[in-house]
């Protein structure tokens, strides 16, 4: 484990739902300017782990450290204050609300009486669309309803939302799911932009080509446990595919480097 300059450290995290172990004794560290891939089958516990980091689920046991500091009771609000932004697999959008309401969901710009600063939110959304949402069509405006957008556009909204607020760590849970080749390119470019800006990223994707291309380090989760880790740069993408096939069959890494 890299003790130096760890942004986020999870130690011995466990979580059960109704007696079913979703995450078991997981320890994981993310460096301050690192892109870490989380790999594992569906139901391996990746999303649960992510939701523990975002404060959505409370872990049954284990400790969470942020910039070396022990964090008790991590709530969604607290995790966002710390600088953790997430693109959930579910996208976490509200379909019947406008684009700008989705961008500022839970974090509306207000004055001190809680009154909404509508012009600011609309202007920021407009700006955001120029910067990030190039894969939205011309017809999309800050007043558009998210429910009427295409899958790629909705994904773009979720990503733009995560990147708009000053984040130290951006978590992307299957960000390329359902995206076209072009949209996937753009998503990977966003991830590179996160790295270039000196931020960290946790990247979850079933597409191993994407993972091989973008991640500096990969942690493999299997049935709620950490099966091991490796550096994609030290192998070809075909070796990575072989490795994951081996994990799926045996639950272990081939010649583990962990």
């Amino acid at each position: 484990m890299e003790a130096t300059a760890s942004l986020l450290e999870l130690e011995h995290i466990s979580k059960s739902f109704n007696g079913v172990r979703a995450v078991e004794d997981v320890s994981l560290a993310v460096g301050a300017n690192e892109i870490v891939g989380l790999l594992g089958d569906n139901g391996a516990g990746k999303s649960t782990l992510i939701k523990i980091v975002t404060g959505f689920h409370a872990p049954d046991s284990g400790t969470i450290r942020w910039q070396g500091e022990h964090i008790d009771h991590l709530s969604v609000q607290r995790s966002r204050e710390l600088g953790i932004e997430t693109v959930y697999q579910e996208r976490a959008l509200a379909d019947q609300q406008t684009l700008w309401r989705n961008i500022f969901m839970g974090r509306e710009r207000t004055n001190r009486f809680g009154l909404l600063d509508l012009p600011a939110m609309r202007a920021e959304t407009d700006q955001l669309m120029l910067e990030f949402l190039r894969f939205t069509s011309q017809a999309v405006t800050p007043e558009s309803f998210v429910g009427s957008m295409s899958g790629g556009e909705r994904q773009g909204v979720a990503i733009a939302r995560a990147l708009h607020f000053e984040a130290e760590l951006v978590i992307l849970d299957e960000p390329t799911m359902g995206l076209s080749v072009t949209e996937t390119r753009k998503t990977l470019d966003f991830v590179r932009g996160i790295k270039d800006a000196g931020k960290a990223c946790i990247f979850i994707d079933h597409n191993l080509f994407n993972v091989h291309e973008i991640c500096e380090r990969v942690v493999v989760i299997d049935r709620g446990r950490v099966a091991g880790g490796f550096k994609p740069a030290e192998m070809t993408v075909h070796e990575l595919v072989e490795q994951m096939r081996h994990v799926a069959e045996t639950g272990r890494l081939q010649g583990a480097l962990a």
Binding site: D95, Q96, G114, L116
Partner: protein, 334 residues
């Protein structure tokens, strides 16, 4: 459209005008409210043609301005509950609880405060039942409707009481007449404005819409959804108590059964006003129009020579009709 400008370097006035026009007539956004408004106009036309001596004079409106707010004020808060994808059916009994507390204190100013506090408390309890215990609000509030109604009946032994003690400031504040306009009406307008601001210009309202639209998304993005849901129930409790006290002062007598007839017209006003039973959308304006349409049905029927006994038939038809209209409009836009 700054995007168009930014991308082409020039404004596109035709596109801008088209977009503005689309917004105004957007079925998606205001279709249900427009439908309600047109229906209100049509109904008024029928009544006015059928009985112009009634509907072209001020008296009927003065009368509506004292009766409609009694359910309208509750319907306004109930709108927030329905937008948050919940329902509250207990408000009839909360009206009784509030006015009983008012009467029991026996001093007008303190009684008013006690009544409002009781309503707020009962509303909070509803919210806690639904949110903390996870009981569906439909069932929970039917339960509390019976419970509090029963408590008031038991506590008063079914007996009413006069409101002579309240004559003076409180009485004229809540139900006085200002140049022939009943005070209930400006109260309703004021409450509508405050709730409109809360819903459309305040973080709380933004969260009400988000909770009703997709509670899980809202929670993931840091909205304190439990607090929002409890708060909307508390608001209904507060306004039901106010409406109960106003109703008691208007009739100069406290009946333990005050509010027993309030459920149908109140709920009907909300749904007729275009607030979605599926949550996430609804407007204060729609509920105001809905409340007046509902309130005008009975006097309207009587004025054109039909029997008032048809009122409930029309209420029921209006509720079902409004829900069919919603299902139709929402299916088209989803």
């Amino acid at each position: 459209m700054s995007r168009v400008e930014a991308q082409t370097g020039m404004p596109a006035p035709a596109e801008t005008a088209m977009a503005a026009l689309r917004n105004v007539i957007s079925v998606r956004r205001y279709g249900l409210q427009v439908g309600t408004f047109v229906m209100a106009l049509a109904l008024w036309t029928v009544f006015a043609v059928g009985s112009s001596e009634t509907w072209l004079r001020f008296d009927i409106y003065s009368s509506l301005m004292s009766t409609v707010p009694l359910t309208g004020i509750i319907a306004l808060s109930l709108t927030l509950v329905v937008i948050a994808r919940e329902i509250d059916l207990s408000f009839g009994s909360v009206m009784a609880v509030g006015s009983w507390a008012f009467i029991a204190v026996g001093q007008p100013e303190l009684g008013l405060l006690a009544g409002l506090a009781a309503g707020l408390g009962v509303g909070l309890l509803n919210g806690i039942l639904v949110v903390r215990f996870g009981i569906p609000s439909l069932v929970a509030t039917i339960g509390t409707w019976f419970f509090w109604g029963g408590i008031v009946l038991y506590g008063t032994e079914g007996k009413g009481a006069g409101t002579e003690f309240a004559h003076g400031f409180v009485s004229s504040l809540v139900t006085g007449r200002i140049h022939g306009v009943p005070a209930e009406f400006p109260w309703m307008v004021g409450i509508a404005i405050v709730l409109w601001l809360l819903l459309n210009r305040h973080r709380f309202g933004a969260h009400v819409y988000l909770v009703g639209d997709n509670e899980q998304s809202a929670r993931m993005m840091g909205v304190r959804t439990d607090r929002v849901r409890i708060a909307v129930f508390a608001l209904v409790g507060l306004s039901a108590a106010f409406a109960g006290i106003a109703s008691t002062l208007e009739t100069n007598y406290f009946w333990p059964t005050v509010g027993s007839g309030a459920m149908l017209p109140t709920v009907a006003a909300v749904f007729l006003g275009g607030t979605s039973i599926f949550g996430g959308r609804g407007t204060i304006f729609g509920t105001v129009v809905g409340a007046f349409v509902i309130g005008a049905i009975e006097p309207g029927l009587v004025s054109i020579g039909w029997t008032g006994l048809l009122t409930q038939v029309i209420y029921g038809a209006v509720i079902v009709g409004a829900l069919i209209m919603q299902a139709f409009v929402l299916r088209r836009v989803r």
